[in-house]
């Protein structure tokens, strides 16, 4: 019997030997925490329970435990945890630390812009040149250069930084301009609130005299029809008056699902710029600039190590730096490369998930309620073919199997079938949100 079952068995018997009130009071939140060499350690919630069990029920508990497991010789009781903190040497007064502050307070309430984002601390590389050039052009001539500007790129690559930098730059040059930065979520909730309070007209007029409107993460507009409609009218009104509009999203306008065509075409009407993944040199440059900001001194070896191991996300680079900075603050010594490897182990090597052919096929067939034999077989029924194609797609993306190898696993198929299936599903995932969801659900099953 394991510890849990054993204690459950003990409790089950004890309740017949003592009153219900006593049972409820003294045995609440108790458990066996250790069982070794005939000694059982019972955790109790407080010192009162400990005294009571030790002095009143010890015999009974021991007797029942013996009946269940013969080799039990002794029962001990412990209260978990310690609420008293003792410091061995009273520390000398520490030097005054930097005053902590609330980050939100830095945000300008009227514009929603955070002054920490500007062009000076934006690192430019080949991957974001185009966006940067467009952004600076707009900052110089808001409303006339490119309108609207649509920036897209993956998470943590600097879209928000660039957007806010434009806003901050315009404000610095022409303080009387009305700049408004709104994450899509805020825009949506403002509209929802206005609808509820029947003040939509007020909101509209308030927004109409904005000079520079910046909306972050517009992909969240997907499926929100009323928001899209209001945004459409706002967009037109501002565009007519040559006011600058800047938008960002994690994918190109074409790939945003459930968004109205007239809105999509407007997104595409100005300038579309993408931010790709930074190359190695740029990552080193980013790290250097961030380290300087944090007043950390790190050798080139260390910077190169970090940049070669974190490749796809600038935010993660910053996270790694924060970890190192925290570590340095504790140890107060210059950090070495080996220590860095230790500190960053959890960031860099996320737990490896493994799977295999069998698991993938099983997950797919279970998900669609088909039999494995059909999927691996020759049937060309529509639903079976679909499941087969998804299996092949997952085999390719998750296991990186070669196409000929994938083909061989399915009766009578070769690499051309595998390639066709892979391409077909990949293409569909770009446009069909439903398929994406299905594949994610299947992946969850694969990796349980």
């Amino acid at each position: 019997m394991d510890k849990q079952e054993l204690w459950r068995a003990v409790l089950a018997q004890i309740q017949f030997n003592i009153s219900a009130a006593n049972f409820a009071t003294w045995f609440k939140n108790t458990s066996i925490v250790a069982k070794e060499n005939g000694e059982v350690m019972v955790a109790v919630p407080n010192s009162f329970s400990k005294e009571w069990l030790e002095n009143k029920y010890n015999k009974l508990i021991l007797k029942i435990l013996r009946e269940l497991e013969e080799n039990v010789k002794e029962v001990k009781y412990t209260t978990a945890g310690s609420a008293l903190k003792v410091r061995q040497e009273p520390l000398a007064e520490t030097q005054p630390e930097i005053q902590l502050e609330f980050q939100e307070f830095r945000v300008d309430k009227a514009t929603n812009l955070n002054p920490k984002y500007n062009f000076d601390n934006f690192v430019v590389g080949p991957f974001n040149e185009l966006s940067y050039a467009a952004a600076t052009a707009i900052a110089k001539n808001p409303g006339t250069a490119y309108n609207p500007l649509f920036i897209y790129g993956g998470v943590g690559l600097g879209k928000t930084h660039l957007l806010q930098a434009i806003g901050n730059q315009i404000l610095a040059d022409i303080p009387e301009k009305k700049v408004k930065y709104l994450p899509a979520e805020k825009f949506i909730s403002a509209i929802v609130k206005a609808i509820k309070e029947q003040s939509i007209e007020k909101l509209k007029t308030a927004w109409q005299d904005i000079d520079v409107l910046i909306i972050d993460d517009v992909q969240f507009f997907a499926g929100k029809e009323k928001t899209q409609e209001e945004f459409f009218h706002l967009f037109n009104a501002l565009y007519q008056k040559n006011k600058q509009i800047i938008l960002s999203s994690d994918r190109p306008p074409k790939a945003i699902p459930a968004i109205e065509e007239r809105l999509r075409s407007r997104f595409e009407g100005g300038m579309i710029a993408d931010i790709g993944y930074p190359d190695f040199e740029t990552r080193v440059a980013i790290l250097k600039s961030k380290a300087q900001e944090k007043k950390m001194e790190l050798s080139n070896d260390i910077l190169e190590y970090i940049s070669s191991h974190i490749q796809r996300n600038v935010r993660e680079l910053e996270g790694a730096l924060n970890r190192i900075s925290a570590h340095q603050n504790i140890s107060k010594t210059q950090i070495t490369l080996d220590e860095i490897k230790e500190v960053l182990k959890s960031v860099i090597s996320s737990p490896v998930k493994t799977t295999n052919f069998k698991k993938i096929v099983q997950a797919v067939t279970e998900f669609y309620g088909l039999s494995e034999k059909d999927v691996l077989g020759k049937s060309r029924k529509k639903e079976i073919v679909r499941a087969r194609q998804i299996s092949m797609f997952l085999l390719r993306t998750e296991l990186k199997n070669s196409f000929p190898d994938i083909g061989r696993k399915f009766t009578g198929k070769d690499h051309t079938t595998a390639i066709h299936s892979f391409n077909k599903i990949r293409k569909e995932t770009e446009t069909e949100e439903r398929l994406n969801e299905e594949i994610n659900l299947i992946k969850q099953r694969v990796y349980i």
Partner: protein, 379 residues
Amino acid sequence: MKLLVLKEKLKQGLSIIEKATGKNLNLPILNNVLISASNNLLNLSSTNLEIAIKYWILTKIEKEGKTTIPAKFLYNFISSLLEEKLTLEQKDKNLLVSWGENSTQIKTQSVDDFPIIPEIKEKEFIEVNNLPFCQAVSQVINFCSITNIRPEISGIYFNFKKDQARFAATDSFRLAEKIVFFEEPLKLKKEYSFILPQRTARELINIFSTEGESPKLRIYLNSNQIMFERLLSEISHPQVELISRLIEGEYPNYEEIIPKSFETKIILDRENFLNQIRTASLFCARSNEIHLKTDPDNKKGILIFAQNPELGESKGFVPGNLEGKESEVVFNYRFLIEGLENMKSREISLGLNGDTGPALLRPVGDQSYLYVLMPIKNT
């Protein structure tokens, strides 16, 4: 069990231990006091399984023994008597209380059911003067968080060093800190800190802030319990012990929240300022908002303003010396009053950090107390 006891002493003891009796439906015996007599000492104990109080009375004991009866009942009964000397005697399942020609019988319950009060085995203790200690605790006790969502701030933070003890409490809207400096350094080898439940702190003040008793208070600690003890003035035996659990958890690093610089700083007469706030508070709307504005119309001082659409509005002015820039800040008036009431100095200094930054109240000339208060965001 048979003993002779003075009514006043028994009444005093019962009034103290009665505070720790608990109302537990599962365990009605927690309403009881455990009476035990041995070695010329009568001991009264009670507990609610969170805190426990033990009280000893020096008395004449003819026969040793133990019994338990409802504490509140016994206290009411004893209080109603006029006679000075009482005889308590256990007979079968009854307690006989007799004086002169009168006698009463009270039903007792089985002693075996009474919870065992855990003991602290550590011999080391911290000894402090009870009055300044209790007074310091009372200056922060009201600012603990009352909900149990964050248990670690539902108690008072204690930190003992050789030469000083710090007491802090916060409910995340305001924070109070009191420092007591010891004239003679404590015999401490280590630094101790812990979080004491607010309820225990209240009992601590009730029991130990009385004058005329032994002036020293001893504190014993183990890993999750604390015991406060005072000795009998006649012999070297404890008179009263208050035992409590400690709250587990990490107390927030509050020192970093205390603002060190201010945009605006002003020295005000405490009495006048407090009165003006009380006056204005009558005009506050439901959210308790009160506006403070420095240097109104170029007069040196602070304007206290409150408005209620149904009642009207109040404007008060307190003169004072101002440094820094002008500002207007909104506070909850109750929080302001509660902070000011814990200060005794003639003047106070008020440091402001705009309408969103934390404000700091301090008594002028007393570096041992401070009160941090967050403004209400003016939307």
